[in-house]
Every structure is written in C-alpha cells, then in structure tokens.
Amino acid sequence: MMDEELKKNIDEKNEEILKKVRNIKILSLGFTKDDPNREKYIEAEKNGTFDAVLDDLETLKNETTYDHVNVEELLSFINKYNELINNVQNVTLQDAYFNRRIGSVEFKASFDNVKASFSFVEGYLVTKREVADSELLLQRYDSLRKKAKHKMSLINLGRKDNGDVLSELDLDYRDAAEKELEEVEKLYKNEKIAYEERVKRLEILKESLSNLDVNELCNEMFGELNKLSASYRTLEMASPELRDELGAAIDATRDALVGFRTNIIMPSKKVEDLAKSIGLKKVSVSKKELEQTIEAKQKELEELKNELHKLEEQKLESKIEEPIQPTEPTSEPENKEIKNLYDLANEVQRLNPDIKMSFENGTLTVENVDDLSTLKLPAGFNYNENLGINNKVDDLTPYMSLPTSKKVRALDTEPTPVKEESNTEELDEPKKEGKRYKVKKTRKAILAPYVYSTLAYGCLGAICAMGASVGMAPVLPVALVGAGIGAIGQKIYNSMAASGLVDKEHAKERETDETFQEKTWTMASLSGIASAVKKKSKELFDILRGNRKKEEPKKEEVPVLEPHKEEPALEENFDKRLDENLEEEKVNTAEDEVVKQQVASVVDETLSNSQSQVSEENNKNQEFEDYADQLRAWLEMNQEETKGGR
C-alpha cells in the first residue's frame, strides 16, 4: 500500500474512532441525536462547540441528581408531600371550631387541590409497583408449576418401569401431585391475567405521564400552597397555637416542593435545554436497552482501534523498509513504542545521548541546551513552548505533551568550553562558572559613605583572597592593585581617625592580645555613624578638618593606616593562599617570584605602617582628642538611639 493511501486510511480511521467515542458519550449521558434538530447538531459541530457542550452536560449530570426526573426521587417526594399534606389536614380536623366557620370552605377547596396535585403521578407509581410485584409473583408461580410438572413426570416414569402397575401409595402420591399442579396452574393463570391488565394500565398511564409537565404542575401547586399560606392567617380557629401549627405545616409542604423543584426538576430542565441546543434529545429506550446499545458500540470501537493499530504498524514497517543511506549508517535505532510520558522522555534521552536530561514530576529538564527545538525528537513529535515535546495533530486527536524546560544552569561546575572570541591566551582556558541564584526581590539600600567605603574595602580584600584560591595570581597585576587597595585603606582610616571614629584606646591589645575582640562595625552602628556625620556633624568635621589643616598641613604625606578588623586576616589569607596556589601550580618562574615579593612587600609595608602609625597618630593628633571625644560621646548616644529605633 502506498504511503499516502495508508496515511489517508489512518486519518479516516481516526475520524471514525472519534465519532464513535462521541456517540458512546452521548448515549451514556442518556441522549441521542434528534433528527428534527439535526441542523443544530451540524452547526455545533461546525463551530467546534459540540464537545464543549457535551462536557458541560457531563459535568452537570455528575453534579446534580439529574436522571430524567428519577422515578424513585419522585416517589420519595410524593410520599413526603402526602405526609406533609396530611399534617395540614390533621391540624384542621382537630379544630371543631374551625370546621364550623364559613371561611374554612375556601381553605378546604385549596387544600383538596393541593392534595390531588400529585395523585395522578402517584397512581402511575403505584401501578408501576404493582406490575413489578405481580411480575415477581408470576415468576414464583411459574417456578412452582414447573416443579409440579417435574414431579408428575417422575411418577409417570415410575409407572412405565413397573409395567403400568402402581402401588396404592404411588396412586395417592400421583393424585396429590396432580392436585398440586392443578392449583399452581390456576394461580399462575390468574396472576398472569392480573399482570397483563396491570401492564396495560401502566402503559396507558405512562403515555399520559410522558405528556406531563412536572415543572408546570409544581407551579400550579405553588399557587395553591400560596393561597393556603395567605388564607390560614385570617382563619377563625380555636387557639393561636393551633393556627401557628397549621402555618408551620403549610410552610413545610412548600419548602419540600421548593427543594424538589430546585434539586430535581431544574437541573433536569437545564440539562435537557443544553442537550437540545446541540440537537440532542433524551433516549426513549429503557435503561437496559441503552446499556446494551452502549456495549455494542464499545465493541465496535475496540474493533476500529485494532484496525487503526494494524494500519499504524503497516506504516511503521514501510518506513523501516526504506533504504538507509549506506554512507551514513545511523546509530539510532527506530523509535520504541511510546505509551506514556516516561517512554517519551526516555526516547528523547536515547536520541540525544550527549545531552544531560532529567525526568521528574512529569517534566523533562534539559541541561546546557540553548534552544530546545534543536533536540532530536521521536518521529511525529515536535517541540513548542506551550506544549513542550508533543505530537499534537489537531484539537480533536488525542496527543501526548511532555512539559520540557531548560535547566538554568547545571549546578555542578563542569567547565564550559569558551567560544573562540578573543585572542588573549587566557581565553583559551575553560571559563569557570559559579553558582547561579535567582533574584527574588530587589530593594534600594541607603549607604552612607563610611559604610560603603569600609565594606568596599573589605570586599576588595576578599576578591584578592578569592583570586588567590582560583589561580588569579599569574594574571593579576598584584602590586598595582595591592597598592591601590592599600591607598583606599589609608584614606578610609585617615578620614575616620580625623573624625575621631577610630578606637585608638585598644591599639596595643589589638596587636598583642589574640583573644582581643574588636568592636564590630555593624550596619546599625555604621549607619548611625554615617547618618550622624551626614545630618548633624558636618560642621564639626569642617572644624576638625580646618584645624587639622592648620596644625598638620602635610597630612597626606604621613600615611596613617590602622587596619580594619578584617584586614590582617584577609592579607594573611591572601598571602597564604597565594603561596599555596603558587606551590600547587608549580609556578616558580622568576616573574612570579618578583610578583610574590611585590605582594609581600606591599603587605609587610602596610602592616608595619599600621603598627607604627597607631602610636604616631596618638602623639600627633593629641590636640584633636577633645573634639574626637566630644564627637565619640555624641555618636555613641546617637548609636544608642539608632539601636533603640530598630
């Protein structure tokens, strides 16, 4: 068979299956196509709304107790209704005074109408029950009749065996059996007549009932009940309590009717109207017949599916039989049978062995792929952003959809080859990637100059340490940068010392006592300092600066550096890591030695400066101590306020 012809056959078969599935669904909902309304059916199908409405019908049916006004529900309601109506009657009957009043006549007339409302339906239901009971009885008599006949045949058999001679006992036994059979036959015959009469009556009632508009009937009953409800208040009765009792009985009856209409009739009407809108009508066959029809349709559906499966196999075989290019023998075997998403994910992985993938919670995650549409996919499958990897043909044909996502970045730090973009030697090395984090939230931060400066200074030191640990030294103009960082540190310290923010009192302990704990420059305290500087102390600083300039015009020439609490650790760490790194990589060239010495000299110089200049600063800046003390006291107070505020 030609490929195109095969494809056409498969398409036709798919179409047929879809129609069959839809028909089964329509039947199982208790509907069938309504030929006079065929246009609506065709229109809904053309608009593509048919299946949506059918789904709505199914939902509505599942949500409500709808079942073509279920007979049992109806009967249950009628019983309850009769009981309630009798309650009303009982209340009025027990009041002799009420019965003698002329006004009671009108009330009684309305009451009789209400009571009779469902008698018609009730008659049908009673007859239906009688037919069912009669059928059971008939079956029982039939069974007894068969047993009696069997007994008679056994007796006759015994007579043949004994040469037509029966003992006296046998004769008695035969007579009793004959009598029993005669009685059972009579019972059966009578019951059969009664049964047939009842069935005829039921048919007539059923035909009448089919024309009954239950909704209309309920409306009429509401009218009568409202009349009762209005009139009982003006009735002359023996006691107010008795009248209240009557009112409660009427209200209960009306409530029951409201419930019946809301739960049974309205959904039923809604469902029927909805079905009518797409050219469907209620099935007129019995439930048993409907079930048989559905069963037969399902068998037909199974056959169609088998036929489709065979056609698809033929198609697959014809594809496999296609000659393979001898020069490019494919290493990819034909697609395995894909029954579910797991199979599909496995198949995609098989076709893309070099790409790392994971299948979790029904989603395929693909790593290190820029464009998912470049993935090799099983035959018939494609990729799009909304459906992921899918084999969707159209909206009606069932399809498979595998949600597929790119992994933002592989968490392992496997080196990613760098594209040939740069001429620098360094770029030939693989570019290392660190962990990636998603930014959930961003907010502005107000950073005062001192906060920024000290943190930035700390960060630069940390970058040095990071660089040392990842082999930055060979490519870093360390001395230059180191000098730059040193200058920043000096500037910060100078500025803070000039502002009286440096704790010089513990300089000795800081140098000699290893257990000495530095005062932490927390965000709060630094912010307090900074905001204080910014808001209230500008004048003080100006004075301090002015004095300092007067007293010490060559301030910049005297380097004043007390390391920040992190500084020794960072530099130590930097030096240590640099050493380790250099040793590990065995970079023992003269150039490296020079670089190392330069770094060491910068670090040593910085450290020695920091040690010597603390005492120098103490001596030289004595004249500023008064100002500094004032400022420190004021800042501490401000700091307390800030902490208290937080």
């Binding site: 970045r409 620098t424 360094e426 770029l427 090395e429 570019k431 290392k432 990637e433 660190g434 962990k435 990636r436 984090y437 998603k438 930014v439 959930k440 939230k441 961003t442 907010r443 502005k444 931060a445 107000i446 950073l447 100059p449 001192y450 920024y452 400066s453 943190l455 930035a456 200074y457 700390g458 960060c459 630069l460 030191g461 940390a462 970058i463 040095c464 990071m466 660089g467 990842v470 082999g471 930055m472 490519v475 870093l476 103009p477 230059l480 940068v481 730059g484 200058a487 920043i488 500037k491 910060i492 500025s495 000039a498 502002s499 927390t522 965000m523 709060a524 600083f541 600066r545 992190e566």
Partner: protein, 87 residues
C-alpha cells in the same frame, strides 16, 4: 539591578550590592552577604548579572581572569568614591 541595593536570592539570603562595573558587555557587582539582622557579614562575593526569560539571576564569579580584571575596575571605582566622598 543597580549598586546600593539589597537583593534577596532564591536561597532566601540577602545580599548588599556595593558597586557595579561593566566588563565585556556584562554587569558585575561587588557585594556582601547580610545576616538575619540585615547586617553585613564577612562573606563577600562578586556576582554577574544574568537576565534570562525575563527573570533576574546572579551568578557567582569564580573565573580567575574575570576576577583579576574586576578587581582592577572595582579598586579604581572604590578609590574614586573614597577620595570624593570621605572628608
């Protein structure tokens, strides 16, 4: 993203972005992690800004070549700031 801002990462850690520089058409931030009390820790980090599928990401920079270049740029910027803003 800009400097002088606090970002909350998907691991619920807050990070203060101190300085931003551009290098090879990418934005990099010199930053410090904050503790639960929103105070700076001694954990410093350099991030690269990544925008993907309209989502913002930051990627830790560990590449030696990039770090060395960034160190120079950050040092220059910080020096400028310190000189211009501190008394």
């Amino acid at each position: 993203m800009s400097a002088n801002s606090v970002i909350t990462l998907d691991n619920d850690r807050n990070c203060l972005l101190l300085e931003k520089v551009e290098f090879e058409n990418e934005n990099y931030f010199m930053s410090v992690y904050l503790n639960e009390d929103e105070e700076p820790t001694d954990e410093y980090i350099v991030f690269k800004e990544v925008l993907e599928d309209n989502e913002k990401y930051v990627e830790e920079v560990v590449d030696a070549r990039i770090l060395s270049n960034l160190l120079e740029l950050f040092t220059t910027k910080t020096k400028e700031f310190v000189e211009n803003n501190l008394p």
